[in-house]
Symmetry: C2
Subunit: 535 residues, 2 copies
């Protein structure tokens, strides 16, 4: 069963080994475990449901709790300390567009707010029930996950929008196809969630961001149904898909989505290359992204992330040998690890890899072969579990991400890390912070920074720490010209910083659009646009 | 000087040779030339300007006439027969965003409608002045065409939005860069026009549609300035660029645009391949598009377009030899011509071509080498001039284009051609109609059909012919699930058919968005959304 207060399956544990713990302790001091609240106590803390009865709604505390929050650090603090705060008054699991319309009608009639959700993997506070007098209904879409139609000629697949990543790929695989969208949340996130938060997956370099995959769909809105047909491309006015993308539940509920799929790749491989320093590494990935050489993935770790990944990798002796060998080849202190991947027709993918590795050599890159790349692939959905393990030892792991044009990439990385170090330092705490570029573009890169620091041990302290950290790093992003999110969306955590990039005119346009579809303001109020601006 | 009533430079003539004329006459009968109205007579026919005087406004009839219309067939009929109808009451040529704001303020204060324009190449009636009591001001943006900033590291270039295609490429070339956007209108169309009509160029397979190139910009709207910063990608809510793209002047005036540029290609080549029949050819281009093999262009002519292009190519003896040779290799009657191109790093581009030609062979394709491809490239901006020459002999040339998913591509081609043949046949006229797929996608293709038929010789007859033809082919597009435009936009000619794809909900959303920026409805009223829906 899915953990109610952490990541993933209850039966899956990936403990931190002693040397990894020693590494963390040496960086930020020893952690002190805290006692988590029990599921029963958390259930008992929920206020009684204010929803009128409805055959589609489950208002039991257990169901409400399991659909109350996402995976952001404040969500975790609420769950772990049993301080849930607001929670939806009930949860519906619609099985058809008809039922979704019925729920919207119910909400309109009864003054209820709706929070659409999928797998509950948001790390930006998309799912928090607003306070206030209105009852809140969570609409969990995961029962609408069937493959409705596969058009092999056009490589289009139509799914219920609540389909989870693995179910989506399994249904396609049976026909010899794949979508190729692999965010780290892949195992628990849904197609609909990806679309409305503009998600991006690890192999976006070949398969595209969800924006490029989303070909059309159906949205049920308080003002009626919006039906978006599929075209290969169009010059006919506003692209309605773009109104749905990134709408974060504010205009309605996406019930069906058609996506551009690909035949299963003949060949797929991931390789690792090390660089002696950040400057060479950044120049190399820029050259690779700008050459459009047909890779499917590029992921560059900065020196401290490289050290951390090697320290956590296990196989201490092997890693020691590797580091010795790398040192002889010029990659010692300050080295940076690049993972690169290719996927597709064998000849094409292998040529892309060959050419990329040759390019890397021109920037002092040292190719260490396929084995580390495959290790990375194996662990790519497992790393999230480290968060559970770290918590058990009194550490929290949090991340932020942005994207900027090339001239600001390194500045941004340093600014975000420095902001975190500064703000936690001011509280007498150390932070272990490191960064990778998760998605590479000709124009720039996403900058994805991780923070590991110690739990204070009580809800108020830890929430205050997180708030201070979040504000400091978000201001660093804004001040350095980054977008407040490259792949996680806005939700409530990023909403205060959105106006910095959209401007007053952009914010007002978004508000006008969502108010058009949702004049009563019942759809996920307070998310994306600051609460004060809700209709 | 630019022709006032036709395409291109007055000094450039590309006459139809006798054998080409004989070919046309054999297909649709002999044409009868008509006497064009004189520039002076057309000027004299304009109603007096109703605009108050303003230092930025030129209200002379000559300037008003030269900025009154575009290049659609009804625009031509109005110009050639001297039946201009409505025209703007004046034209402004702003040189700064400040002046654009001043003009918007002037329009708001004086109840004036504004029609933003660039090079006047619209073929969908974007520029027609609406009738009614309100004075109309055309805002010609071509004096705002400077390269403001080139960020080589991020491959971003910021231009005044009125920059014409050749000026844009020349300014970039001086720095070793290019944009790579080559619609057939390239020589007279502007960056701003491309953005607000969602234009697509011949090498979009590598360089992207304008949607992929447009990274940010500035729009002056009646509600103030919308400033869209550049990010490599973002998950932060609605992508404001998408509100500007395809807005066709309805929300404001784009004054500045930042585009994603590329280094000048090391290598560029175009090749021709012939196929024995449409079925093999379509299967081949689908395979090529779906393999993402790195080509920059694919352009497939159907049998009659192939015949026509060979007939108009000149070099009758050489073409005869080619056709004999092709026939021996299985490409006789019914053969289809494919142009394919690659552009970029030498090794990459050559590999893409080699692999593509090998793929073609698997579909019975016969490679005839580079020469015909280069000939095509040479003539690619010259073919438009044929319209002038045809008119001189009493023939009109018109085109429509759409895009559909693969299962409907061939159906669409036949339906559009049959609709044209049917409607003109009903009027006792023949039409020479042929089609190419101008842009190829994994999902489907654009379907671009040309019609050549005889001028009736008087304005009423010819306008009635065009209206009947336009309606018939537009209904064929709509009925077969195509978008009403893949690359030309909506304007006034396509506006009646837009609701078929957007639905009532989509139309209302667009209206809400534009009304938000332009509550008085002064921006290009009646375009894109049917006039009845104007705010």
């Amino acid at each position: 069963m899915k953990r109610w207060n952490g990541w993933g399956e209850e039966t899956c544990d990936f403990p931190l080994r002693d040397d990894a713990l020693a590494f963390l302790a040496s960086r930020i001091g020893p952690g002190k475990a805290v006692q988590d609240a029990s599921f029963e106590a958390a259930c008992a803390s929920l206020a009684p449901s204010r929803l009128p009865e409805h055959p589609l709604i489950d208002a039991t505390p257990a169901t409400r709790l399991r659909n109350a929050l996402g995976q952001s650090l404040p969500d975790w603090l609420k769950l772990r300390f049993g301080r849930i705060g607001t929670a939806p008054d009930g949860v519906a699991f619609p099985e058809s567009a008809q039922q979704v319309r019925e729920l919207i009608g119910f909400a309109q009639k009864n003054g209820v707010s709706l929070i659409p959700q999928g797998g509950g993997t948001s790390v930006a506070g998309h799912l928090t029930a607003p306070g206030g007098d209105k009852p809140v209904l969570a609409v969990n879409m995961t029962r609408m996950g069937r493959l409705h139609y596969l058009d092999k000629q056009s490589q289009l697949a139509t799914f219920g929008a609540g389909v989870l990543g693995p179910d989506l790929e399994a249904q396609l695989r049976a026909h010899g196809y794949m979508l190729g969208h692999f965010p780290q949340s892949f195992e628990y996130s849904t197609l609909g969630g990806w679309v409305v938060t503009r998600s991006s997956g690890q192999q976006s370099l070949r398969y595209g961001r969800i924006e490029q995959m989303f070909a059309g769909g159906v949205v049920e809105t308080p003002q009626g149904r919006l039906d978006i047909p599929t075209f290969p491309a169009s010059a006919a006015g506003t692209d309605l898909r773009e109104i749905v993308l990134g709408s974060e539940g504010r205009m309605g509920i996406l019930t069906e989505a058609t996506v551009r799929v690909s035949p299963l790749p003949e060949y797929e491989a991931f390789h690792a290359v090390f660089f002696p320093d950040w400057e060479s590494a950044e120049a190399a990935v820029r050259a690779l992204a700008q050459s459009r050489g047909g890779l499917s993935m590029l992921r560059l770790s900065n020196p401290l992330e490289t050290v951390t990944m090697l320290a956590l990798a296990g196989h201490k002796r092997l890693i020691g040998l590797l580091e010795g060998w790398l040192k002889l080849r010029g990659c010692g202190e300050g080295k940076c690890m690049l993972m690169l991947g290719a996927s597709g027709p064998r000849k094409q993918a292998r040529a892309a890899l060959r050419s990329a590795i040759a390019t890397c050599r021109g920037f002092k890159g040292v190719h260490v072969g396929r084995r580390m790349g495959e290790k990375w692939k194996e662990g790519r959905f497992r790393n999230v579990y480290l968060r559970n393990a770290a918590w058990q030892h009194g550490y929290v792991i949090d991340t932020v991400e942005t994207a900027v044009d090339w001239p600001r990439v390194a500045l941004m990385m340093r600014a975000v890390e420095a902001a975190a170090t500064g703000v936690l330092g001011g509280m007498g705490e150390k932070v272990h912070t490191y960064t990778h570029l998760s998605h590479l573009y000709a124009q720039g890169a996403s900058v994805y920074t991780t923070f590991v620091y110690r739990l204070g041990g009580d809800y108020e302290t830890d929430m205050a720490r997180w708030k201070a950290l979040k504000h400091a790093v978000s201001m660093a992003i804004v001040d350095n010209g980054g977008t407040i999110s490259h792949q996680h969306g806005v939700g409530s955590d990023h909403a205060p910083y959105l106006a910095a990039e959209k401007g007053a005119a952009g914010m007002a346009a978004m508000q006008a659009l969502f108010s058009h579809f949702d004049p009563q303001g019942i759809m996920n109020p307070g998310k994306l646009l600051p609460a004060g601006q809700a209709a």
